[in-house]
Symmetry: D2
Subunit: 347 residues, 4 copies
């Protein structure tokens, strides 16, 4: 029987073995709470090794909190954050950034394939400079983007230069950062601190963990008192080891890249097979683990009737088909087969 | 070798087998995210069964968030919350309730053995009724208290009547609710909704889970839009099953009570043995899993030098010795033996 | 010499005689503070008489606060407010609504001539209904609009019906409410409570007062505890009589309408004369006290060089020429004469 | 007939002639809004001259806003502010500081005669240094105090040294700053910037203005973006000249000191006469414009029955009798005569 939930979201997958194993190993005996424990120290250390820089690391419970706390720490309430009009912080966090920052305004700019058009950003932030409008303070990139594309190192570099030029800080929403690194085959530093990113929200859940994201400050002075901020905002885990240990499990032996590479490859396979079906059109380059396709509404309805789950309100419309560490080839076959059949196309 | 961390905090313990097992069982295949999954449905259902009432249940990441979101949902920013002067929301949440509610003021009242003195509360809330001072809106009980004591059903009843009489809502911080129920041997409904409690923050972590607390609305109309509130505040888990499943593991077969009973019994044992040592004095009745003792500072220092961890800034001073599901008899023996020896007392 | 500041903003004008006189009369002897005084009682009573309904009235310091407190009282932080994309709360209050409400999101919809297109609003609020996006709660109309147009009673009626149908509350930003009533020649109740408006922010400053706006709750139950909200937000005047008395001065003898009628008539005169100049184009119907014109950039620059002040970043671009109670015919002549001359047009 | 309202509050008085005259003079013609006008420039310049230092000045609507915005600019939400337990920000602003700062906690310390005991403050801020409790950031002095006493220059100096030593910023709530300077006969710089005060909330209303306080940053770098903060918080007046001009009226010719001196002298006179009545006891040294007396409850009740207004819930209890610029000798005589008569004492 096909796994009808397999392509709805990378959040529908469970915990991958490496993360689970690390969590299990951490479950022995008593250790200090709130992060003052060896598992947390090790995970922080591995993140520093991974990025090859002396960054400051904090573990929080989810991506909404990671982004919102990060932005709140970079902004005052009368500032603005500029992001892509399809960015998660604008479209899917129910006003969390505004809540955590007590009113920071999110301004959106367009851009092809889910990537910010810096010329449009420039226009947006230079149009007003009076005190009746929030003062631009942070530029936010989503890597990989909400549309399954990936900023190249050169593109992140350009954003970094742009941010410096305009006195903005550069934050990266990396809910699918692993997929981006796996896709680019680059060093993680090349699309972060070496390119001018001040702060990365490094996603764990979509990569295969149960819960938790890492907030990584490459400019360490920006991390001052961030521990207080986490505590006050209900984002300091008492039994921190269970948030931290999975990071060690994933970063050791490069499991984070292997798992993301698998998800990306599944998306490629799915895209390749769908490309062959006349009624189905790929909407964006498939560079990470998402495949967006446009299909006739009747076909979408038929797929839903068969039992397939996928979202069509995300991003720019169309059907979003997500792959994850848990996607199996047989699921892809089952989905492609159903689409082919429904569209009257013989594979 | 003695386990020097064993008595520092019930947060130093890991995950108990029932919670772990349930989490492991939930880690199979794809399920919907954000709580729309069978594990979450089951856990909610078991909580309703446990309380024997049709309450509304939400799972959040930790106790600070549970309390703060609960209070924010019961208050406006210009209201006040009345709690004991040693309550966690006042002393150990770094201003989280004020942050989540955008400024609600916490007013504290005294009370013997960590329990609110209702006469003192009455004085506090009737002293002012002008708009220059926050308007009292919520009464907060901590059960079990920060000092290891427990409100009896009659005491909760009295607080419930008091709250109704003064137009206050009644919230219960139940970070150690299991220990209270285990101690009283009562039905959990008897110290919550049947006694007038509107909302319980039901603690999971200190009872043996990895992460997560349940916010339980006994007055269902108060729960309106609480899901939005959780989402916006970064407290909606994407892979919710890993927060919810452990509740099923704990509530089935009464494991939550068994684990709490064990912790309470360890505290009794520890207290009994310490009572015999002349230099050590029990500060409060031992009704849950905490033992507060006063000892000569030299004795405290010697214990720390030996390696023992415990806190002395919590509550009313003295040394706080916490037991948990993971406490073993041998740890108690080791600690008592060291104290005896250091105090020149032969057991 | 021409009064080069005369058309920059209705905030550039001083205090009109009726408001001043009332303030002067209030400046005698001791009276109770914080609104418990006869001047405030009289002003509230006159507002009730003016609207012919038993509304609840609060005086605050300015329009930003009036709008923001009003919205905060109608919303929770996870709600959204829908307004026109050129509405003041979106474009000119530096994130104040988000700040006062602790994160309420403002969603904007388009609409010709500065008036909301209800079909566009419907699309906006029905596109999403999941908890990952703020829940629509308030519809906001600006009357008169930022572009100097005015909603007819029928249009406000339609917005009221729409709001009821979608479970939204209806707030009116009436910074230039007097100009709207003067323009329509209607009863003020016809474009507020009789049409379904729940709450009006009734502007005083632009009508001729020194400071202060009235927040008028037509649904009295919504006003519950609004006095606390004002106090906490720094919007409760100690010497309230000086905010309240001018309202009496303006409402008695219909001065508020006379002053607004004058401003509107000046705008008509100005528009009529500019219409005759080929290089100048009126951008919107002139229904209140604003005239928006498009002119060649060279002409705009020349006017600025001559010394004329006016803004061109407000609304949809072009030059905004504002009239007020203090505009004199000679200023209009001087401006038109300069424009004519610069554009090579002989009057 | 006695003026029964004369001693209830210095907020019950109207606007003094110098402030009124300046406001009237400012009411001519068009001027730029939002503070970009000559009246505002002049007022700022006069404040700089008065303090003999290049401070940064902002005018806001009232004292609650002045204090709250000041504290919000000095703090993050997870910080704490330390003030006297009777300070206005704790007891009479309905949680405004917590609201504006999104959760900053106010911690209170005792101290005789309304003045902070620095030893008690030290104990308070050194008791905890973990992230579970807000981090101390600002020390707040009220000058003159809520009990009508005044910190000497040496006492402010000591507070300044203490603040520097503990890494705290020093804010002064100067709602009655004029009364303090008049009482001490010192240079205003001696009890502010020369003594280490970073920021003064300089009160206008109680000194004789209609509305408005000045926020004075002595450390100019702390004022960065404070204009945005004011705007977002609804504290930027459009017709700023009417807030600013009265400051010029008061600061020129030393009217602010003369008016405060008068109020202080009235308080002295009142105190001297009450001292002679056996049943009346002065509670604190009379150093500014407040006289706190303890009287038998029957006497208090009789005075209220006669019609006299005064508050007895402020500060430490007793009756608070306030003098102001508008107090006249005959009012004092009338009050003293009534008290004498009621207490059976012949003057």
């Amino acid at each position: 029987m096909p796994n009808y939930l397999a392509f709805a979201s990378d959040n529908y997958a469970g915990v991958c073995p490496e993360a689970w194993q690390a969590m299990a190993e951490a479950n022995t005996g008593f250790v200090s709470s709130y992060g003052d424990d060896p598992w947390t120290a090790q995970a922080c250390s591995l993140i520093r090794d991974t990025f090859e820089t002396d960054c400051q690391v904090f573990f929080v419970f989810n991506g909404t909190a990671a982004n919102s706390l990060a932005l709140a720490s970079l902004c005052q309430s009368y500032h603005s954050v500029i992001c892509h009009e399809l960015a998660h912080i604008e479209t899917d966090e129910c006003g969390a950034p505004e809540f955590f920052s007590n009113g920071t305004k999110i301004l959106t700019a367009p851009g092809a394939e889910g990537k910010l058009d810096l010329a449009a950003v420039e226009q947006l932030i230079t149009r007003r400079s009076d005190i009746h409008y929030p003062k631009p303070r942070v530029l936010c990139l989503t890597q990989a983007t909400e549309l399954g594309t990936v900023y190249t190192p050169a593109e992140v570099d350009a954003a970094g230069a742009f941010a410096r030029q305009h006195g903005l800080r550069l934050q990266m929403d990396g809910a699918r950062f692993a997929n981006a690194v796996a896709s680019l085959g680059c060093h993680p530093g090349d699309i972060t601190w070496r390119a001018g990113v001040d702060l990365l929200c490094f996603g764990g859940a979509k990569n295969g963990m149960a819960v938790g994201e890492a907030v990584v400050f490459f400019k360490k002075e920006l991390a001052e008192e961030f521990d207080y901020r986490c505590k006050q905002a209900g984002q300091l885990a008492s039994k921190m080891r269970f948030l931290a240990a999975p990071w060690s499990g994933m970063l050791q032996n490069n499991a984070w890249i292997k798992r993301a590479t698998h998800a990306n490859r599944c998306a490629q396979t799915l895209a390749d097979q769908l490309r062959a079906i006349p009624q189905v059109e790929l909407m964006f380059p498939v560079q990470a683990n998402a495949v967006f396709v446009s299909m006739p509404q009747a076909l979408i309805d038929s797929l839903h009737r068969l039992g397939w789950h996928f979202y069509s309100f995300i991003g720019a419309g169309g059907a979003r088909l997500m792959c994850s560490w848990a996607t199996e080839e047989s699921y892809i076959e089952a989905l492609v087969s159903d689409i082919s059949e429904l569209s009257g196309h013989s594979c």
